[in-house]
Symmetry: C4
Subunit: 339 residues, 4 copies
Amino acid sequence: MDLDELEQRARALLPADVYDYIAGGSFDEITLDDNRTAWDRIRLRPRVLRDVRTVTTATTVLGVPLAHPIVVAPTAFHRMAHDDGEPATASGAADAGALFTMSTRSTAPIEDVAGALEGAPWWFQVYVLRDRETTDRLVGRAVASGCGALVLTGDTPVLGRRMRDVRNRFVLPSNLGTIESLDRPGNLADQDPGLTFDDIAWLRDRFGLPVVVKGVLRGDDAVRCLEAGAAAVWVSNHGGRQLDGTIATAAALSDVVDAVGTRAEVYVDGGVRRGTDVLKALALGAAAVMIGRPVVWGLAVGGRDGVREVLAALAAELELAMALAGCASVADVTPDLIA
Amino acid sequence: MDLDELEQRARALLPADVYDYIAGGSFDEITLDDNRTAWDRIRLRPRVLRDVRTVTTATTVLGVPLAHPIVVAPTAFHRMAHDDGEPATASGAADAGALFTMSTRSTAPIEDVAGALEGAPWWFQVYVLRDRETTDRLVGRAVASGCGALVLTGDTPVLGRRMRDVRNRFVLPSNLGTIESLDRPGNLADQDPGLTFDDIAWLRDRFGLPVVVKGVLRGDDAVRCLEAGAAAVWVSNHGGRQLDGTIATAAALSDVVDAVGTRAEVYVDGGVRRGTDVLKALALGAAAVMIGRPVVWGLAVGGRDGVREVLAALAAELELAMALAGCASVADVTPDLIA
Amino acid sequence: MDLDELEQRARALLPADVYDYIAGGSFDEITLDDNRTAWDRIRLRPRVLRDVRTVTTATTVLGVPLAHPIVVAPTAFHRMAHDDGEPATASGAADAGALFTMSTRSTAPIEDVAGALEGAPWWFQVYVLRDRETTDRLVGRAVASGCGALVLTGDTPVLGRRMRDVRNRFVLPSNLGTIESLDRPGNLADQDPGLTFDDIAWLRDRFGLPVVVKGVLRGDDAVRCLEAGAAAVWVSNHGGRQLDGTIATAAALSDVVDAVGTRAEVYVDGGVRRGTDVLKALALGAAAVMIGRPVVWGLAVGGRDGVREVLAALAAELELAMALAGCASVADVTPDLIA
Amino acid sequence: MDLDELEQRARALLPADVYDYIAGGSFDEITLDDNRTAWDRIRLRPRVLRDVRTVTTATTVLGVPLAHPIVVAPTAFHRMAHDDGEPATASGAADAGALFTMSTRSTAPIEDVAGALEGAPWWFQVYVLRDRETTDRLVGRAVASGCGALVLTGDTPVLGRRMRDVRNRFVLPSNLGTIESLDRPGNLADQDPGLTFDDIAWLRDRFGLPVVVKGVLRGDDAVRCLEAGAAAVWVSNHGGRQLDGTIATAAALSDVVDAVGTRAEVYVDGGVRRGTDVLKALALGAAAVMIGRPVVWGLAVGGRDGVREVLAALAAELELAMALAGCASVADVTPDLIA
């Protein structure tokens, strides 16, 4: 499967403004593009003559055994892409053995999404809203529904400005709401621009779950997250949708990995479209690699099956890339693979 | 607002040779283009989880409090772009809280421009002419009209050769003059190619105002300016209109900032089109960021309102960029934001 | 002769899917393209005023005297390109004084190919198959037919995924088989993904011939190959057909040469299209330079004569490049020629 | 004047194969293109506030006072470009105050060219032919006609392969000969591929004139030239017409200048199209900058006047560039101007 082709198929199916909302980035989309090309610029140094009769992509993320390190990143408004919405995405992810991250901007109730997972592990992405009571209630429902970790988004104190949406005068379709306002479609609660490192411990202690901070791009911030109680950090620039001109995630990863060392897991998203990109991320020190837009394209084109196919294809590509790089297991994917 | 789109709207309104005069650079326009791409090549390392409930772009420039560090650079012949000319530009700048720099090549009388500012702070850009008496008289009028500093242009001993103007056989429309010759349209007085560092102290002492030297691209020259009595230096290559092949201002800024240290403020212009460019300039050590052509496009398209909209949009973009970078104030915009 | 033009002539003659099979690389063809541009990026520092009345490209490879260091790399399925198949390629190579490497994926019997060489030196490329007995039988036939060395391919434990072939649903034409299954067309035996360094000594000892390991891209792997009994290493990424994103061979060569030192010869293939590319490879330390696709284009366009012309043209270009670089012999082609 | 436009005007006037012969480079024209872009990639650091009321481009080359450091490089077959041929080129160069270098491949007699110069200084470019007697006779005539130095071409033991000429089946028009064979049109004598450093002293001693070695691209070769008796070295890759992939002259210049130090003058040609290119070359240490193809375009378009206009325009551009860089004289053009 070629994910660029898949995107074009999804584009043909979706209203233009919906496609643009999903595909676009902020301002001049410098970071959106750079996220992609930054992986392409990295060169691999594969090993030869290793026994790869058995290659396994199996790994653990925050101690949870997974078939592979490919994880569904949180993305908004799945019912815009497909009527089946987030439950279909969650099911498809589970079918492919991929950890699913549910977004605060989900257009289906938390419980429905959790139910669709049928016991597969999942995480809940938390936008801390100005209305902390609502936040508390939403996270509480996610925890009650069995999420395994809380992903605290740290890069969205305010929304980035996306020129495609400005030009399209994009608004969420009037029949859709998100989990805090499913009964009041179109009324999205604002995020809290006053969020600080102190909120990490609050969230962890309030719900007793590990907190992963998403949006970290600097080693010093990563260290502060861990010192403030985070269980892991997630290198992301929000898919190039927030501060344009931000460093590509592939370029930021090493700084964060070096600063974190062995203290915690580091994840990465942004522009990953091939199993070789996943291999590069793992070689640079990522413990898991998150996929955003391609999952939504899969959902748009094929619903649950489409999601499964995207993730299964990436996992298969990773397995192939590992074999060709002489790596029988994720532990064999070490920094010396990078030129 | 997208400033490239604005430029295209202005282009549609203006005579082709006037558009080219404003938009063009010297010879092969290498530096013109490089000024733009040099900002794009710089990558940011935003911070997460900072309290940005209140973000302020407020700053001071030469001790004068300003709503933001975005300043109008001096540009010539505004009545070519819009009948309302420099007074409209000045009013629009004041409306947007932007410090205005009036050009010696203004097509409206100094007093009219000063009047349009209604007390808002402004600077006067000085071309020292071969005819020093005229220079003295013009600067005297600017000082009498309340300008707060004198911007001595150091990069124009002679004019750069702009091939668009050569091909268009561009001449200033016959009904327009500049401030030294409003009564003799089309007769521009020549600049003095004998200007040296000694003229800084002369200008400062003659008029008792701080002198900012514009056109500095080297640390050693910046230090000489300060030693010769300059209050600040302004990194500029005249918008790519003088020596083609000159280093982009974004690339020259660090050298000047390093050489100047804390002794004086450093400003920069050239190719700034986004709030993220302003953020990058501040992070590299600039105390203010000057905007040239986009202001003229705003003037051409919308007169006073157009100017205000350009500057207000940039200021809003800067505020957004600061929030997304985790900076609550200009003081938070430090070099570690640059990758 | 311009090899890009030759490729276009071959493209016009061949079925589209056959052309794509030969021309294509894996996934996004990043490495396929990079192999080419990596040579172009290298700059030469020619010498002047050297006596080049007599320039000789003569050299030895594994002790065998050759007219030049240009060698035919093993490529598959020559009867797809031309009815005369591998015997024509072998004859053409011999006509041009080029060492020929026969592929395990040859579509003509080993003995026919060997016969066509009429005593010229040749090597046999070994895919160790899951079925070791078949492997043993094939290599035995090659040895009995007079091959001078065994080229053990180390980079193909499994096949890379080539999107052109996926889109074209490419299959080997039903009338063709390869040497292990000429009587069972279309049934290609799988390679053994369990191949390790230990197999080098096995192969060498079993057949008493020097073993060259093909597909090495790292200095550490090269050293392990030599320690395990290899006579030489061949820097290759399989023409960009295996792990996409792999370092270009021109970029990997120095690392391998540095690690190997004077212990063994190092060869290189990938993207070589000009005599100047060969000169660069030699200057970087390669003892021979292998040519893949252009030989097949020559075969497609002109059969035996086409192969000869490609190789003779490259050898003539090398001689010319040597003269222009001030090198009278291959020994004069030293690293200082590289900028 | 824009030299790229001039080239297009010449192209419109000339037979396609003649244009290609002049414009083209060897093989893939990598070096041809790189020569141009290498100058464009260099960035300048102009100085401000220098007294440039009087700017002079005056200099000396090998002790001869010249109005500017712009020199006509030797190029072949001027009667192909214009019926007036080399005498017109020489006259135009003299008109513009540019030192003229006459080529061994001149299509007009040495004495006619010398006469056209009317006492202006000129050099004679020497191809040492296999037939040394003819060489001796030709150089003798040049010396007798008053040439001031001999330019020994060191980069052409054999001719580079130029694909345009191959495709066009280019041959020198049958009515033209060069100075060694004006009576036998089309019969060019071969250069001697056995030329070595020893021939420098031979040439110098035989004719008592300073010898400049043209085609040097390496510091070590430059030193050997000087040790062998050369008066100066000329950094050139023959306009990208010999070894393709050779380092651009702008990139090679520093290495040669560093190796030579103050012992001798270093010149450079290749891709110079602007006064800013000349400024960059001088700043990198060149004592003179040679112009090849643009002179021929000027000749083709305007004969003697066309040549003068090209050279005068470049000299004027250099003077302007010097003023804008804060350089009142060639001595002010120092390496710190380069970023």
